[in-house]
């Protein structure tokens, strides 16, 4: 299975481990990524918060590129990129005038035919495959699956899973051998959009999320968005109070990779600010003991 791949700016920088771990699990799970050539930034929050047309056009440029490169389905692992691309596709499809405008500016025959997929939509159909290939597995690691805002919302754009009671991420990590915990804040926003410009707010929101996950007994947080990751990993120390334990934050692809028995190095686990060492030890030692037992 070959798939159009839109990494977005983060996966080339702050979230390189997302990119790496995604590529690492591609082989074992039998999909191939074809990076969109000459892609540009989706526009992110700054575009849509200040200029709607700009937001649509920046996203549409990439959709048009995909179309011209013969790619029918684009997977954007970053939740923000996914949301921007999917929103543009949705709006163009529902607003004929906007579609005309887009075509004028892009000077091409853009038919808005490219489907946009999130990382969840990519992995959910692979759960049985993950389960089969999971070697040691995650050994019942208790994880809190964190969806955040843009993977599912708004539902008419994302068109995936139940917007208020999703289960896809839990299904995926469960297949990889983890035990997802039940917790309340998995759909709440971590505030990443204001991460740089209004750090105090972000610390407040992030803290609530971490607290809730910990209270539910999670040993790690699993995310599918580089913004959430940067926010909850990079700023976690600021969010915690003295003496509070740190909670490693894994990308979904890293969690799956670990479950598949891939090397932590391959998955970029060393790049996190919050150390993942203990977690890796917990998973692999569990694996060893299991191996010994059998």
């Amino acid at each position: 299975m070959k798939l159009g791949y839109f990494p977005g700016c983060s996966l080339h920088a702050t979230a390189r481990e997302f990119d790496r771990s995604l590529k690492a699990i591609a082989g074992p799970l039998g999909f191939e990524l074809e990076e969109l050539e000459d892609w540009s930034c989706c526009g992110a929050t700054s575009a849509h918060q200040t200029n709607h047309l700009l937001a649509v056009l920046l996203a549409a440029r990439n959709l048009a590129l995909a179309e011209s490169q013969g790619i029918r389905q684009v997977m954007a692992p970053c939740a923000a990129c996914f949301s921007r691309l999917a929103t543009a596709r949705h709006e163009i499809a529902h607003d004929e005038a906007l579609g005309t405008r887009v075509n004028e500016v892009l000077r091409g025959e853009f038919a808005n035919s490219v489907e946009v997929q999130s990382i969840l939509a990519l992995l959910r159909p692979m759960t049985s495959k993950i389960q089969e290939s999971a070697k040691a597995g995650l050994r019942g690691l208790k994880v809190a699956c964190y969806y955040g805002c843009l993977l599912l919302r708004p539902p008419e754009v994302a068109q995936f899973d139940d917007v208020e009671a999703p289960s896809s991420m839990e299904q995926i990590v469960e297949a990889a051998g983890a035990r997802p915990v039940k917790w309340g804040k998995r759909l709440d926003c971590c505030g990443a959009g204001l991460s740089i410009s209004r750090t105090a707010s972000v610390v407040r929101l992030g803290r609530a999320i971490l607290e809730d996950a910990r209270a539910a007994g999670a040993e790690a947080l699993v995310v599918a968005c580089p913004m959430c990751h940067t926010n909850l990993d990079l700023r976690q120390k600021a969010m915690l109070q003295r003496g509070e334990a740190q909670l490693p934050v894994l990308f979904l692809t890293q969690a799956v990779g670990l479950g598949l028995g891939l090397e932590p190095g391959e998955l970029g686990l060393a790049r996190h600010i919050i150390s993942t060492k203990a977690l890796i030890a917990r998973v692999s030692s569990g694996g060893e003991s299991a191996a010994q037992a059998s």
């Binding site: 920088a13 200029n51 709607h52 590129l65 926003c189 990079l234 790049r271 600010i273």
Partner: protein, 186 residues
């Protein structure tokens, strides 16, 4: 944008013209505010923003920072019982505020400007450049300084921008939008 039905010059009319959305459909149930992660920091809550849009009270909306605190997490939109789409309306209010020359909070404005400049210049965003640019704009030289070295070590910040071939097209997009905004602003 202007292809939509145009209305009577009221704020609600402008929102409708730009988005096709009807602010009158808001019946002030407050479910948006109830679920908004930023509501407690906003002086105007989401339902109040919609109310002020209904009664054409632009000044109070535009001079307040609250619209700039919205994270566009879409919780309000997903749960709105009457299909109002507050997140999209607040996006639109911000755009209208910019056109009305109202200024967003300094840091937030600086962030957005730095971000978009990055895209215009390089086609993509390079966080190191972004942070540097942002710091230049805000003079906030020391914030996040502690995080940067760690990020560099872990290869998290790319130091040098890598351009894209289609930069011409990206710049044309920016030019078009700037022109359109000027035209609408008049």
């Amino acid at each position: 944008m202007s292809e939509h039905e145009s209305f009577d010059g009221s704020l609600a009319g402008e929102v409708r013209a730009a988005t096709g959305l009807n602010v009158s459909a808001c019946y002030q149930c407050g479910k948006c505010t109830a679920g908004c992660p930023m509501a407690e920091e906003m002086s105007l809550k989401p339902h109040q923003m919609l109310r002020l849009a209904q009664v054409d009270s632009r000044e109070r909306l535009f001079e307040d920072d609250s619209i700039w605190l919205c994270l566009t997490c879409e919780t309000c939109t997903a749960r709105c019982p009457n299909g109002v789409d507050p997140a999209r309306i607040i996006d639109c209010l911000r755009e209208l505020a910019l056109r009305a020359k109202a200024s967003p909070p300094r840091r937030i404005a600086a962030f957005h400007r730095s971000f978009l400049e990055q895209i215009r210049e390089n086609g993509r965003v390079f966080e190191f450049g972004l942070v540097a640019n942002y710091k230049m704009r805000t003079g906030d030289l020391f914030a996040d300084v502690t995080a940067a070295p760690g990020m560099l070590v872990r290869g998290k910040l790319a130091l040098l921008p890598k351009g894209i071939e289609g930069i011409g097209e990206v710049r044309r997009i920016f030019a078009t939008c700037a022109q359109a905004a000027r035209k609408e602003g008049r």
